[in-house]
Amino acid sequence: MSGLQTLLTTHQLAAGYHVGGRPITIAGPLSVSIKAGQMICLLGPNGAGKSTLMRTLSGLQPRLGGHIDILGDGGASLHDPSRLARKISLVLTDPVRNSSLTAYSLIALGRYPYSSWLGKLNGEDKRIITWAMEVTGIGAYAERKMGTLSDGERQKVMLARALAQDTPLMMLDEPTAHLDLPSRIQIMQLLHRLARTTQKGILLSTHELDLALQVADEVWLLQKAGGGLEKGAPEDLVLNGTFEAVFDKEGIHFDKNTGSFHIHAGSSKKIGLTGEGASIFWTRRALQREGFQVMEEASLSIHADPTGWTLKSISDSQTFTTITALLQALRNQSIYNEDIH
């Protein structure tokens, strides 16, 4: 991928805002780049400045320092909305629920930088709009009003609008927030595919760590309070412990083995777990949720197999057919134990 064109680079970029005339830097100094065909996920805890960075890169707010170069323009187009509109398209968190606007007419607005002074569409405009609707799979509700669409459908329309804008760079601010799981997965898969097929550079901010790890070509991990930005292939960041280190500060434990989080709290209770297949994976999740520290062996242990669960203590042994029943028994036991102490 090293031969790919660089679409955007920043040098010592500082992003933030002014409070009473004084600049407050939220993120930076950052030196990053986006290449054609690359899908980059911007991750980080709330307040780390994901939105501020996105807004700065897309020219919606002025940078506090450093340089941004977009397609070799030296940053000039950031001050000229009509030039920038042909380079970067956006999907924002701003609510768009204009009920009298049909999906089609909203997508058609994406042709704004190219259409005539009256906004009339020519054949080329219409062809691109049709393509954008095909790619996002929203042909079925093109004539529906925005007010009647579900959150997921609406977000796809916004995505189609950005595609219709036909820009080398696309930036999306939390495009999967408020969506249900199938929609989240669909959107992420779609973006990943688009980056590959259209050679667009796509930058999106998200909280969906597990999804991001699966689809991102590169992850930018933004830390709180000017803690800087770690970047790299998601797998590299997992293996070299960057994720663990970053999220540890937030009191969250990132499990290198599973690529998911769990919470430290109450891990003093130890429990052993043995077993096989999907059964052991889900039992572990349930136990972790209950606050147990799950290990190979302990005085209290569980064996999971496809037929059921066996709970063994030093004196006793019980079997259960559901996790619900198992957890209920564990809860009763812990109350009993606490009574003794």
């Binding site: 970067i88 768009v96 009298s100 906004g119």
Partner: protein, 342 residues
């Protein structure tokens, strides 16, 4: 779609003719036609009534209908609020303040003499004052609106700005002559019948300028439907767009308010009707549609006001309120419409 345009135009021509043909003084239809066609031999009084009273009034109705509806449409897009319109957000009150400043200022004597000295340009002075007043309030409301995201909150702020502006006028009235106050109060009743001659030309010219400005920015207005951020990302220079929209709204609402008095509700009702009739949000379509429907609505209201045998002068804004207020309630009740612009 073409059918709807044609139907609307036919309806409009019909109601325009009806507005000229019908009035407190009964004139046979044939005579009205002959007078319009400048055929000789008709009663001089009828000639005067049709030519000097009804036609100027109908023309004023056309101008007011176009201007008020389009200014309402622009404000709804700019504030992303379906209930925004000049009278709701205080722009009309601002224009009233401008007019009051001219009509009531300095105890009246000095200003009256100034206007008298200026002669015909007194009409320009009133226009300018109305437009400036409208623009000042519009700027104020826009500044506040950047802090307020909530639709209903914005409307409440509009009412507050309106009330505050009208209070300034009330204070002004304390220091003014009774005779001037009477004139001012009569002006607030709203009327289409007082605009003639030069005034009509001035009003027409200013309104046309506002409409052209508005139509030229129809593409920008479309983009603004998605909010400032999206609009900028599509290439709109927000600052410049705002200035143009404020200019054209102030020209439209300000000049019409200056000459016809504060006329409410047309700005809410008409864009809503245009959107549902043509089921579109494209301003390229909505602006001409608003002109047609707005003209029709005001002509209709005027027709009610001058029904045969009715000798009393019925203020036009009372009738527009009677027609428009239920419309507003309907918009509020239909949730779908209210959440429109987020």
């Amino acid at each position: 779609m073409v059918g709807r345009w044609v139907a609307l135009c036919v309806l409009l021509v019909l109601i325009f003719f009806l507005d000229i043909a019908v009035g407190p003084v009964r004139i046979p239809l044939k005579s009205v036609l002959r007078i319009i066609l400048s055929l000789p031999g008709e009663d001089k009084t009828w000639h005067y009534i049709v030519g000097q009273i009804r036609i100027p009034k109908a023309c004023t109705a056309v101008i007011a209908g176009c201007g008020l509806s389009v200014s309402g449409l622009q404000m709804q897009t700019l504030f992303r609020n379906p209930l925004a319109e000049p009278s709701v957000l205080g722009v009309t009150a601002g224009a009233s303040l401008g007019v009051a400043a001219i009509m009531l200022s300095g105890g009246g004597i000095i200003t009256l003499y100034t206007i008298r000295e200026l002669g015909i340009s007194g009409s320009w002075l009133i226009t300018l004052a109305g437009c400036l007043g409208a623009a000042v309030v519009m700027l104020l409301v826009i500044m506040i609106s950047r802090k307020v995201r909530d639709n209903m909150m914005m409307l409440i702020i509009g009412v507050m700005v309106s009330t505050a502006t009208l209070s300034i006028i009330s204070i002004w009235q304390y220091f003014s002559d009774a005779e001037l106050i009477k004139d001012y109060l009569l002006w607030t009743f709203g009327s289409l019948g007082g605009v003639t001659g030069t005034q009509l030309y001035i009003l027409g010219l200013v309104t046309l300028t506002g409409l052209i400005l508005s139509f030229l920015s129809s593409k920008t207005l479309d983009a603004l439907l998605l909010g400032d951020n999206y609009a900028r990302s599509m290439g709109v220079t927000i600052h410049r767009a705002r200035v143009i929209i404020i200019c054209s709204t102030s020209l439209l609402a300000g000049s019409i308010t200056a000459f016809c008095g504060p006329i409410g509700f047309v700005g809410i009702a008409v864009p809503q009707m245009a959107r549902s009739l043509f089921s579109t949000s494209s301003h390229r379509v909505l602006i001409p549609a608003c002109c047609l429907i707005g003209t029709g609505l005001i002509l209709f209201c005027d027709l009610i006001g001058q029904w045969p045998g009715n000798q009393t002068a019925l203020p036009i804004n009372i009738i527009t309120a009677l027609v428009g207020a239920p419309m507003v309630v309907w918009i509020i009740l239909s949730k779908n419409n209210l959440s429109i612009y987020g």
